[in-house]
Symmetry: C2
Subunit: 241 residues, 2 copies
DNA sequence: CGAAGACTGTGACGTGGGTCACAAACGTCC
DNA sequence: GGACGTTTGTGACCCACGTCACAGTCTTCG
């Protein structure tokens, strides 16, 4: 089986990500995937460890096997903005791998994280063999482009609270667990981390969050966050308060 | 020859764009390109005419044969932001053509413009036949992604004057003609058009432009714009004033 | 358990840049 | 050469948000 190798104990195996379950390998001959998996490298990053920096040369694509990766950029002044936070099963770094250019963003681990990396050579061999993989790659790139366009729009024509609402919606949908109390966000982030993500100041974010808590749109539960009124949050993201 | 057909007088022929000169067809068998050119459609838009709107279904890619196309998005409040201005030889609309999704941005003509369009069917036939075309498409998408990322950064962590400086640099480099007086921007835009592009107000842009004119960074010559100190403009784009 | 460090909460204050409301200058068409 | 529409120029005013400067509160670890 084309498992992403677990570098830890056997009990970790269930949390591991199988390559063949990834969208990018959907419809690909299992033997091809297995071959890629055999040549793939594994790597573990400690909390806070840098995987790559803006401007680094690049020749591999990564898959988050278990953990959490933050993708970011820095301004000339040194301010960091988070572009995305990736969890198990996410693929990243494909642009550098595909075109061989330098990295346009940095990547680092938010906690101890296991990764699988696939080298350009390996990937291109498979690309030459399987036309379906080509389609999948094109699809992936298109999806990325659409996602970036949407975020671009957010950045240019939405105000801070709208951007925050957008992120909250994303957190609730992609990292939320429905409970009697509301949608619990499993992906726990500090206010500073969220602030970097929404490109606002920590203090400003705090104030908005507390206002919304008062209005019962969400509950703040020591570090955790429970979304109560996703409808309204979405509305704010789209049209403002 | 795989010319983009001129729908106008023969004198327009010299301004026409040949498909085989486009990056996306670099290294492709001429007969394949010719076949695509034969199946391509031509279309002329009047000044201001809408080619497609956000949310439209899409099944074609376009090439600007002669004229000028503006790509834009709208906020829920109705404010338009220009994402790019395209001139002869530019390719656009490829994402929708490739993945069949709806358009994420609108496109309209800034002046009377001739376009060539290539349908998904036609393109995919060629894609199946020529693996080099696949590489070219992947390259194009990667380039787009890098460009969008850069603009994304501009939007989130640069201030208005920096964004303006960025656009000026782009105008000077990609649409400029070096003359004794400085780099003359051939692509003439009104201040309103530039303001939409830099996501600032027309009034604000005006003030910055006049300040820079006083500082001899540029000359404003009734509608035209001449960049005198590109070094400094680039510096401002990167580090602020 | 107690201290140090991280995280959260909140007000005072400053400012970039948008909106409004004009006036002046420029085109272009009868 | 008026006259009307477009573009440019400029000041008064305003507001969203960032920065600063704290004070609480939670965690974690010796």
């Amino acid at each position: 089986m084309a498992y992403v190798q677990s570098s830890g104990a056997a009990t970790d195996a269930d949390r591991s990500v199988k390559l063949e379950t990834l969208d990018i390998f959907k419809g690909i001959d299992p033997s091809t995937v297995e071959q890629i998996a055999r040549k793939a490298q594994n790597r573990t990053l400690d909390k806070g460890e840098l995987l790559f920096n803006v401007g680094d040369t690049s020749d591999a694509l990564y898959v988050v096997a278990d953990g959490r990766i933050r993708i970011w950029t820095v301004s000339a002044a040194g301010a960091e903005v988070t572009l995305n936070v990736l969890t198990n099963g996410a693929v990243f770094g494909e642009i550098g791998m595909l075109d061989g250019g330098v990295r346009t963003a940095g990547a680092s681990a938010m906690l101890r994280t296991r990764l699988t990396s696939i080298a350009r050579r390996t990937f291109y061999e498979a690309l030459d063999r399987d036309p379906q993989l080509v389609r999948n790659v094109i699809d992936l790139l298109c999806r990325r482009l659409r996602w970036t366009s949407a975020r671009m729009e957010d950045a240019t024509l939405r105000q801070a609270p709208q951007r925050l609402a957008r992120i909250l919606g994303h957190l609730a949908r992609d990292h939320g667990k429905t409970t009697p109390r509301g949608i619990e966000v499993v992906l726990k982030l500090t206010q500073s981390e969220m602030a970097q993500w929404t490109a606002m100041s920590r203090e400003g974010l705090n104030k908005v969050l507390n206002r919304w808590a008062e209005e019962r749109l969400l509950i703040q539960d020591r570090g955790g966050l429970i979304v109560r009124d996703l409808e309204r949050i979405d509305e704010i993201a789209e049209f403002g308060e």
